[in-house]
Symmetry: C2
Subunit: 349 residues, 2 copies
């Protein structure tokens, strides 16, 4: 074979420099696309890189730059739950999570950034996360936190390290976030139900220990109150298909005469629909049903689900963008972006 570089293990900057007949610094400049390099030399170096099959060593690089070029996607819960239990399987299996991932990848992939996926639900894990942040495992955190009393958002805000959250933190803390405003979003559902002529309306809420759960319930009641409906019965669900079935069963038992239901997410609505059919109620004729999210579940419903669309993919992408902003300009004040929800009218209402 050639005379260059024999069995020296993986090529380093040094090897490339030798092959190209220049200094390490020059090679480094070429690699990092720094201007001050003679086009001729740049050529030579590039050939040497190819010839050696050189790839920069990330560890060495981030040791000096203090940047890893990767971020963590953190799914956070206030408390630990059993692993085989509902939570874990539930989180990753939820189409909601899939959409977040999709949006995140849309933004991150063109930039060559790959997220580290973490599930955080113990104090220990929370500390580790902050430590990890401080020590070059990753440059920042994209946070998906459901629970209203999750301490992580505050922890992150206090650490001052780069972070951005999907959904507004429960307390007012300096943390960049994206969200939609619940009130106008659920108002879309309320208005539509009223417009259809529903007069005995109920709702299946999300878990009331989540901001989303609380706000959608409060907002919906609020909106219905403005239409003159003082009291809207509700049953609490857990954002799962199964809990939707249970909640609808309960609702039907307690209020057999309802003619319209707003369900706080599509998965529960899908479950609820099953119960409605089983009880011989026609949708939307006997009961109109509106979901929330516009996830893949909405189209898998029969009839297809009318739902309040949350542009999750865009929101996740924007969260990533806000995060990158954070470590490009750490001194800037945190910022947030609010998206607007839209009503997707299909056949269920």
């Amino acid at each position: 074979m050639g005379t260059e570089e024999t069995a020296t293990g993986t090529p380093t900057l040094e090897s490339v420099a030798r092959v190209a007949g220049v200094s390490r610094a020059t090679v480094s400049r070429v690699i990092n696309g720094i201007r001050n390099v003679d086009p001729q030399l740049r050529e030579v170096v590039q050939r040497a890189v190819e010839a050696t099959g050189y790839v920069p060593n990330q560890a060495a690089r981030s040791l000096v730059t203090r940047r890893t070029g990767s971020i963590a996607l953190v799914v956070s819960e206030a408390e630990h739950r059993a692993f085989d239990g509902p939570f874990l399987g539930q989180v990753f299996t939820d189409p909601f999570f899939g959409r977040v991932l999709t949006g995140l990848f849309n933004f991150l992939r063109p930039r060559g950034i790959h997220p580290v996926l973490m599930l955080i639900d113990t104090d220990e894990a929370r500390t580790q996360l902050v430590n990890g942040l401080r020590n070059g495992h990753f440059d920042g955190v994209a946070l998906v936190s459901l629970s209203a009393r999750d301490p992580l958002p505050r922890l992150l805000a206090e650490s001052g390290l780069p972070a951005a959250s999907l959904f507004r933190p429960a307390e007012p803390i300096p943390l960049s976030y994206v969200d939609i405003i619940a009130q106008p979003a659920v108002q879309l559902a309320a208005d539509h139900l009223v417009r259809r002529g529903c007069t005995r309306v109920a709702t299946i809420s999300g878990p009331l220990d989540t901001s989303a759960g609380q706000e959608r319930l409060a907002g919906f009641r609020d909106a219905m109150a403005r239409h003159g409906h003082a009291y809207i019965p509700s049953v609490e669900g857990a954002f799962t298909h199964e809990s939707g079935e249970k909640a609808m069963t309960e609702l039907l038992a307690e209020h057999p005469d309802i003619d319209g239901v707003f369900v706080a997410n599509d998965l529960m609505a899908q479950g609820g629909l099953l119960v409605l059919h089983a009880n011989g109620r026609r949708v939307p004729d006997d009961i109109a049903v509106i979901g929330f999210d516009d996830s893949s579940a909405a189209l898998a419903c029969r009839p297809p689900l009318t739902t309040v669309r949350q542009p999750l993919e865009d929101m996740a992408a924007t969260m990533a963008e806000l995060l990158l902003d954070r470590f490009e300009r750490p001194k800037d004040p945190v910022s947030s972006v609010i998206f607007v929800a839209t009503l997707i009218v299909r056949e269920s209402a």
Copy 2:
């Protein structure tokens, strides 16, 4: 304040050593749990670590150990598809993916390992991946590859770098993997259908450019042939809910008299069931339906879906285990673990 360590930025081994009054080497030994340390000193050092809030710098560490302590979970496709298009959303949204993640986390979390999530579907990305492997972005790859003609498994095998695959590679290459054997798995479905007395049986297959798609179809036909059914009509689906609806519609049009269907995954079965209901077919009385996977979709079906259960969580966990084996003992021959499928009988058949 105290006299120790003022505003030196994040603490390093050096700081801790100074505080403890020992050498860097000793601190390092304590941190890494190496035996030869005087219990007394160990104590002192540990206190110093806490006092300083020291956390090891990962970059510095892996620069010398050549280990990052993290792995990549790679979802691989032969060809790139549009990002907003069906693929991406489909992959992350599929309950299949959720189960893989769940199983992986079950194994990885107790070990403090967090996977980097990567989507690979271009030649460029493939090269980057192998380079990344070679250069300390991560220590190994857990591969989820659907397509039979995905070049990545071979690339990984040839690189000789630590990797393990969920599902057997299409070609016989030295790559650790976990899988189930399709034939006996689908035979469960065939036997059950025959036992029920179904005589006009058809199948909705997965995409035929995937091994899973091919093998489940071939295996099912094989099994039915042994029961004396020479020809089993089939329609190809894409493992999605929607494609299941389309396939079932087609099947019904071409073979209106069928009384049993094996569907190559639960998502398609769920879609198919909708079409069956819409056409007034009672399940299982008029037509028995069996799915494959035992994903969350199976329980969201009405009637609940009888299905061939693939223990995906266990398989994913074992894949992770095989992967760790690979970089603990790189010289050992690759190994594979075969799981067995079981029939979960619910109400649809």
